[in-house]
Point group: C2
């Protein structure tokens, strides 16, 4: 049986809220339920790890959790001993490349799926939790060895999902255009578009849309559909 506890956030910031604030209850619940006292932070999506740790540690400390960053310790040992993992946003290509460069992909996968270590990701941190990063919004500023990712869920996420603007004069592709273009490729995955404020909570084989905003689901060769907060989307895990 797959054992997992994931909370995948579309974004760390939502208009009108502080860093991670809109998801604070769900983050605290997943940590408290697992008796977590210290969270391992993975800051690789941004260039300046020290600065990113200073930003990330504020909410966790406020909520009563200790936080340490993987960049100040032996990365493998840190993953092996982590009580919970929080992967911050930034550039998805840079994040995934660093996980491969440091040979951490299999270890994280094993700890989360076999040992049930809670995984919290936001933006790029949610992208890399999925089957692949084919549906990131980021620029390919670096070149990872593959787009296959941690595979903690068997579909893809598009974070910061935005609906197609009406009456836009911009002629570049909309987000929906881009996801449908991905689905022109024969071996492409289902894509869950998480609007800013939407989160995906996964416990073992159950998946629920949480947060303060819904999602939009793209299953290949089916009509896209909107998913409301509170919806059970466990069928995506099959």
């Amino acid at each position: 049986m797959v054992k997992r506890q994931l909370l995948l956030l579309s974004s760390s910031r939502v208009h009108g809220y502080g860093f991670l604030d809109y998801a604070s209850n769900d983050i605290c619940n997943i940590l408290t339920d697992n008796n977590v006292s210290s969270v391992l932070f993975i800051p690789y999506a941004k260039r300046n790890h020290d600065e990113y740790l200073r930003l990330a540690e504020k909410p966790f400390k406020k909520w009563g959790f200790n936080i340490t960053s993987i960049h100040t310790q032996n990365p493998h040992k840190a993953i092996q001993e982590a009580e919970a993992i929080f992967v911050g946003g930034g550039n998805t290509f840079r994040l995934l490349k660093t996980l491969y460069d440091l040979d951490l992909v299999k270890t994280i996968n094993r700890r989360v799926l076999e040992e049930g270590v809670p995984y919290i990701g936001t933006s790029a941190g949610s992208n890399v939790a999925t089957r692949s990063i084919h549906t990131t919004n980021d620029m390919p500023i670096v070149w990872p060895p593959t787009l296959s990712a941690l595979n903690l869920v068997p579909f893809n996420i598009n974070p910061h999902f935005v609906d197609s603007p009406k009456d836009s004069t911009h002629m570049g592709e909309t987000r929906e255009d881009r996801i449908l273009e991905y689905h022109e490729e024969p071996d492409s995955s289902t894509v869950l578009g998480l609007r800013e404020g939407a989160t995906l909570y996964v416990k073992d084989n159950q998946a629920i849309i949480k947060g303060i905003c819904g999602a939009r689901l793209y299953i290949r060769n089916e009509k896209p559909k909107d998913i409301k907060v509170g919806s059970d989307v466990s069928y995506l895990l099959q």
Copy 2:
């Protein structure tokens, strides 16, 4: 001496204009100056090549040029014999991957830079003309063997460039954020952001911003600057 004639368009469509219309004079000039009677179309950025050819052939026929598509002939022979090349937009990763899969990168590079065959590109077709596609806006729906591209100019382009919106409630990165994030990487190139309606004309070692809208230039470790239509940017070729 480098011999080249390039016209790199930000986009094939600009609000208020038909397909390629805003650039019709510059496209016709570069073809007429070279006594071109037939243009070779490269439709690989889109999935449906036949449909794309039907769209692309309309303006060229209207202007009095014949057009044939590479997908209906032997690709190598077509490039070898091309009087001029037009590379359409779509998905940049798919376009570049196809050029590598068919082993066309070196041949196009040689024909354009050594034999002076005119190259017209739009959006993805402009991206692949540059040093690399690190600054595409597209989703990585497929995985080319490298991000290095045709290298017809020694810098990068960001097509469909948009200025950062004021008072946006969306928390995802702006285009400028993403380009500056690319410049955090040590071996990153200069990036020319072409607003929709902007084009870059290159003749041998001279480069000029043309079209109906300006550009924004990002040189690593320098302040970004706006470039007006008509500006000489030949210094970018050095």
